[in-house]
């Protein structure tokens, strides 16, 4: 793990990793103080979560004292385990339902929005783009309260609950695919489509046959982001949930965990761990597929990490 700071990589490795311009800077000895700080930060950021996961396997009901390994809080306990407590496993199902529905709608809508706005040269197009970006930076509380007021006062035919959560989550998540695809469109440029149309494709045909396949990695990356984002979402689903059935995992952890130590505290840790495994699995699968899709492209891993981190 620890790297010899003074060691200089062989020229071959440098060229292979494609960072030769950076390797020249390496003659500068990096201060170990900074390295220590980074490691401290990493410990501080990761250890609490690791401990929370560990204590979800505790056989006792403490989240601070280790009493032996068990799956009690996942499957064993007849009342409080994630499997047997109806509130907890309903929450898992509700989270999955919302994540799948939202992803299925938000990604296509966002992608089409990005393509349409990119090619539609007018004042209106930039106004819509501005609106989309504004929605992206809007604090979720303002966004969620707005939709709450809309659905309870004007569009009252939409009841609070799954439908409301779904509509709001799609609106909240359109920005991800739109922004990522917009960036990708800018780097693809118009030449490929131009060529397709010179060869006789219609403009819609060029989009479908040429542009969409090229956009596929970006579309895929935003699918992963939206799915994991909905799994993690809290504010919107909390404000718009109507009863226990429409409370996904994040809301359950919040409502049961808000004032500390219930009898089934480790069960909440277990639920949170299930949630964690779901997003990590999504991201891990996503990352490998993305790497595979963009294989052979310039930039390698750094580029493929970009869209996933949103950077």
């Amino acid at each position: 793990m620890s790297t010899g700071t003074s060691s200089v990589a062989a020229p071959v490795t440098r060229a292979a990793s494609g960072v030769h311009h950076r390797a020249r800077l390496r003659r500068v000895r990096r201060p170990s103080l900074l390295r220590g700080f980074v490691w401290l930060y990493l410990l501080w950021s990761l250890v609490p979560v690791a401990l929370a996961i560990l204590f979800s396997f505790n056989s006792g009901s403490s989240v601070t004292e280790w009493q032996g390994f068990s799956l009690r809080w996942y499957t064993g306990d007849p009342y409080y385990s994630v499997l047997h407590d109806p509130a907890l496993h309903d929450a898992v199902i509700q989270t999955l339902r919302l994540a799948v529905l939202t992803t299925l709608v938000a990604v296509p809508v966002g992608v089409l929005f990005a393509i349409g706005v990119n090619r539609w040269r007018s004042r209106q197009a930039s106004a819509w783009t501005f609106l989309m970006l504004l929605a992206f930076v809007m604090p979720e509380l303002i966004f969620g309260v707005g939709i709450f007021l809309l659905l309870t006062n004007l569009l009252t035919f939409v009841r609070l609950g799954t439908t409301a959560q779904f509509l709001a989550l799609v609106a909240w998540n359109i920005s991800w695919p739109a922004i990522i695809v917009r960036a990708r469109l800018a780097s693809i440029g118009g030449d490929y489509e131009e060529a397709a149309m010179d060869l006789g494709a219609s403009s819609l045909g060029a989009v479908r046959r040429v542009l969409l396949p090229m956009l596929f990695p970006a579309v895929f990356a935003s699918t992963v982001l939206v799915f994991a984002g909905v799994v993690d979402d809290f504010v919107i689903v909390d404000l718009l949930s109507s009863n226990a059935q429409s409370q996904p995992m994040s809301v359950i952890i919040y409502t049961l965990g808000a004032h500390g130590g219930s009898a089934a505290a480790p069960a909440l840790n277990a639920l949170a761990t299930v949630m964690f495994v779901m997003s990590i699995a999504t991201v891990a699968i996503g990352w490998f597929v993305y790497r595979w899709l963009t294989r052979g492209e310039k930039g390698g891993s750094a580029l493929s990490l970009g869209p996933l981190t949103g950077s």
Partner: protein, 312 residues
């Protein structure tokens, strides 16, 4: 760089194809945003300018802007600035928490992002570690601290064992330090990623030039790296401070006591209290008004930087 070329070729393409095609592709998304993002602000205004139903305590929105009343506005105004101004204090507290937490976030995030951006060999590994908390649900991360900070929790154990404190500190009942640290813990990964993206983009040749011209490491940093990263520092601080300003869950998970209430708590509580959603609407509009300028600045500066995705 690429964006410039793309801009040129794009203008050629968009002349092609039927005129209705591109707007109709954008339309579903645009409509969705119009109905569920733009329209809510009008509804919030109508609720804020309306009255309350005396029988059911439900809000009675007034849809015509000409007959908007100032019942709720007056109420909130007196809560904010009047004799019993309990809200004024909450606003100041929120501001203080957000400013302090953002400052700590920057102090942590900049060195970390700087270090990783300058890494050449183990960059991938560091990046994975930095991105990891990004994928752990926010609630889980708060729950993790809740476990650690309990009266009999690990933090108190360690502190008493090392004799830093003599008896357990009650971290979880209205301790402002806990709330601020919770905010820092929650939002710092986002800031690191934004700063990393910015610092990684700085042209290495400039740094080498500075050093070839005889600048020391510290002066290279002060005169080259820091000025070049100013824009991304602003952007990053903003992208973390904005959600913090609307945060209420960190507070509830780690304190839940009125002495640390933030404006987000007041707003989210007002929605579930009968007869108070008008106050909530006024407060949300106030919050929007206060944050609109920085949000617009952010959107415009990220559009100017080429693609928004690059700055995010």
């Amino acid at each position: 760089m690429l964006a410039a070329d793309a801009g040129l070729s794009r203008s050629k393409t968009s002349a092609r194809g039927p005129r209705w095609l591109w707007p109709s592709l954008a339309m579903p998304g645009a409509l969705w945003l119009a109905v569920l993002f733009l329209l809510p602000f009008y509804v919030a205004l109508a609720v804020a300018g309306g009255t309350v139903n005396p029988l059911f305590f439900s809000p009675e929105p007034v849809w015509n802007p000409l007959s908007w009343r100032s019942v709720y506005l007056g109420q909130v105004w007196s809560d904010l600035f009047g004799a019993h101004a309990y809200l004024g204090q909450t606003v100041l507290r929120t501001l203080a928490y957000v400013v302090i937490a953002s400052a700590i976030c920057l102090l942590i995030a900049y060195p970390v992002a700087y270090f990783v951006a300058r890494q050449s060999r183990h960059k991938g590994m560091y990046l994975v570690a930095l991105v990891a908390p990004f994928w752990v649900s926010y609630m889980m991360r708060m729950l993790a601290w809740q476990n650690l900070l309990q009266n009999g929790g690990l933090v108190n154990h360690i502190l008493t064992a090392t004799r830093l404190i003599t008896e357990p500190v009650s971290w979880l009942s209205g301790n402002p330090v806990t709330v601020v640290l919770g905010l820092v813990y929650g939002y710092v990964p986002y800031l690191i990623i934004v700063l990393y993206a910015g610092l990684d983009r700085i042209d290495q040749a400039l740094l080498e030039a500075a050093r070839d011209l005889g600048l020391g490491r510290i002066r290279t940093f002060l005169h080259v790296t820091l000025p070049l990263s100013r824009q991304v520092i602003y952007a990053g601080a903003l992208i973390t401070a904005l959600p913090m300003a609307g945060d209420f869950y960190t507070n509830t998970m780690l304190s839940g006591v009125p002495t640390t209430t933030m404006i987000g708590n007041v707003i989210s509580n007002s929605l579930s209290t009968p007869g108070q959603s008008g106050d909530g609407a006024v407060l949300v509009l106030f919050l929007l008004l206060a944050l609109l300028a920085p949000m617009v600045w952010y959107v415009r500066s990220s559009s100017r930087a080429g693609t928004a995705g690059e700055l995010l």
